[in-house]
Amino acid sequence: MPTNYDVHEYDVLVIGAGGAGMRAAIESAQKGMHTALVCKSLLGKAHTVMAEGGMAAALGNVEKKDNWKVHFVDTMFGGKFLNQWRMAQLHAQESPDRARELESWGAVFDRTDDGQILQRNFGGHAYPRLAHVGDRTGLELIRTLQERVVASGRHPHTAEKEIKVHMECTIYRLLKTDGRVSGAVGYWRETGKPIVFRAKSVVLATGGLGKCYRVTSNSWEGTGDGHALAYMAGAELIDMEFIQFHPTGMVWPPSVRGILVTEGVRGEGGVLKNNKDERFMFGYIPELYKNQTADTPEEGEKYIKKVPGARRPPELLTRDVVARAIVREVKEGRGSPHGGAFLDIASRLPADQIKKKLPSMYHQFMALGNLDITQEPMEVGPTCHYAMGGVRVNPETQQSSVPGLFAAGEVAGGLHGSNRLGGNSLSDLVVFGRRAGLYAAEFAQKNGTLPPLDTNQLESCLQEMYAPFEKPKGENAFIVTSALQDTMEANVGIARQEEELKQALADIAGLKDRAAVLGVAGDSRFNPGWHQTISLDFLLVCSEAIAKSALERRESRGGHMRVDHLETLDEYGTFNHVVWRGEDGQMQLRREPLTAMPAELAALIEEKKNG
């Protein structure tokens, strides 16, 4: 174990450099804070680049009737009313400003004929609302923020500081002093040497946890680091049972199973069919959405062609509904040859339009599957895509229950309730990334000096971190991770039931024992086997939180489907599940009642329910 380590001191430490982390760092630096931005990969590679369809913002460019109130209601409907209403409100109110701010920093969104930001249709959004760049909106967002980070500290006559970027650095544990967060310990991936950060406040922006599952659209980085770091530091996690299975992942060939196919395909008019050539989504329209959804293909067609008064086609229902429908079609023998559904854009748009509006989908299918989507339908099926749950935060400030610890983006819970609408993630990143950066800066300013380092805590962290090197013949972390993914896929997947969830919890307990005695061959320089031992710790915490919360929710709602409790129950619509680490080190769970919504917001929802 290396005994000497570099210590870096900052006002604000931001962990994660996707959309939320970069936006938080920019805000903090603008407030004059010495800010560090730490990421596991190279800058600009974070999972935000995978977002395709767009960023939801009620700009009202394409449909003048759109405004924040409509966006708020859509978001609450999508989340089946378990959302933290104040987060949904702030998100809807602030996202148009954040979109225009991105433009001022160099984002180049597609345009309307009138030269404004163009918006596209997406599931669950009443109007065309998603600012986008073809089907590579996430790349546009990340590059824009990356360029703004690079330009930080170069604005004369302002207090803005330069953001210090630490790439390829993994955070292993958060450090605390007297109950408050005081920094973090980690290592450089390149050399394996330890690094210690001292900070007055810390923002977690580590993204998702899709790697708990085998079939996922997430990259290697989606190992729930921030969820687990917060949990280990004593913070609470909320809504962990709600996992979004995106209805359209690639299903063939096997090596690309799970890679995302953007909802933009359906937004541009793509339709889902089974092996009997039926548009099966017309058979799956839930009661809640009956009065907003077209009941004939003709009406759906009119909507895509923007005929006023026409209702949305059922392919644009929320993701939870579409994913479940595909699972059912496959189960009942109407699936595509490789166990999915057919997604057809070829018969809907001319080839040149498809290449213009969906260029990366065209490229992806051509290169990976040798399939020309302008000629043939795609085969698609559900893939683990997004964690609605995350660190429980104050809706205004994004501060967790641990003083000085903030969270934003996918790692934070609350905005999306039980199901996220497509497009609400990119807007989430910049709205709440900014807020987390702002309030982390404020916390740092108010709480003056750096908390002292607890060297005992630090030393024991370092000891644990390097322990696998002492067991070169120990079990390989990739094998244990694979076993975890198997049980999560089989027992905590899209269709869940009591016995399987209990089985998953038992499996996870056994895997924890195996994870405690892993070994690593080779040295600490850029060693993926060692890196995986650390990711596995995080994945185990997240998997347990998902399975435990899912077991206790004996109903179906949003991203959580119980085949033994298919109905949505009013009784379960009044609280969120919260988990935390108890005094004995065991995971605890409680029901946290929803806070009451102000009358004017409740009235908006009632109005929509009554059509």
Partner: protein, 259 residues
């Protein structure tokens, strides 16, 4: 596009195949043989992952999205600069054992991971967007035809394969040449309808555009199919030439003694 093969997918499932993977650091290294069994539709990056999981967990390799969108898994596969995640095994299987080496233009860290910090330092040389004031509508009106070219450049995933292939960067590291990726970044800002900054001096003096002799190797290897040379580099070369090498202006300067 460079990464596409014509015709139907050939099944590689069940076939045993040998990979020669470069292992080592700056001090020493060699190609090491690994034999694995292929599965249907496999890409080269899948093979690297399988080698990590089954044989060599300490094999260093960068990757993220595995869908050609992040530009992390650049390497030289059978001598060609490619994204490993977008190179299907059926495209290379007939070439015999598959050789995977790290990008050559950048200093080696370990195995397939190279030190690409040159690119991050170079990015800092380019002045950011300087937006014009908003118009009467309180926004920036831009028409699609004005931004088509800018959007082409913004497709760049920063895989640095163009930088890796550029012979100026590969063979003449003593120059201040920024490389195609960053000339294109400057072009993107110069052609941005909202921008009011002037980067022509930067392009000439700091990015060293004069070193590019338009071999188009960068364009050939771009996995996004961006016309780097024709659409970005040549137009900027013309702007530099107009500013600094216009013969009429030059003659006038000579005659009048003015610069």
């Amino acid at each position: 596009m460079a990464n596409h093969s014509a015709g139907k997918t050939v099944s590689v499932a069940g076939r045993k195949h040998v990979f020669n993977v470069w292992r080592g650091d700056q001090a020493q290294g060699e190609l090491v043989d690994y034999e694995i069994e292929l599965s249907e539709g496999m890409v080269v990056l899948d093979a690297v992952h399988q080698i990590q999981a089954q044989i060599a967990p300490d094999l260093a390799c960068r990757w993220n999205c595995k869908a050609g969108k992040c530009g992390s898994c650049s390497a030289e596969v059978n001598g060609r600069p490619r994204l490993m995640c977008m190179t299907r095994m059926d495209q290379v299987i007939d070439e015999g054992p598959t050789t995977i080496r790290p990008m050559k233009a950048f200093p080696l860290i370990k195995d397939l991971a190279t030190d690409v910090s040159f690119n991050y330092r170079t990015a800092k040389k380019i002045p950011a967007l300087d937006p014009k004031p908003k118009d009467d509508r309180g926004e920036w009106t831009m028409y699609q035809y004005e931004i088509d070219r800018v959007q082409e450049f913004r497709k760049c995933i920063e895989c640095y394969l163009c930088q890796n292939t550029c012979h100026v960067l590969r063979d003449h590291q003593e120059t201040n040449f920024a490389g195609p990726r960053f000339i294109m970044r400057a072009a993107q800002l110069e052609m941005h309808p909202m921008d009011q900054a002037d980067r022509i001096e930067t392009v000439k003096e700091e990015l060293g555009i004069g070193y590019c002799n338009i071999n188009k190797c960068c364009t050939d290897v771009c996995p996004e199919g961006i016309n780097i040379t024709d659409n970005a580099i040549i137009p900027l070369k013309e702007r530099v030439a107009d500013r600094y090498y216009d013969p009429v202006k030059g003659l006038w300067a000579k005659l009048t003694g003015n610069k």
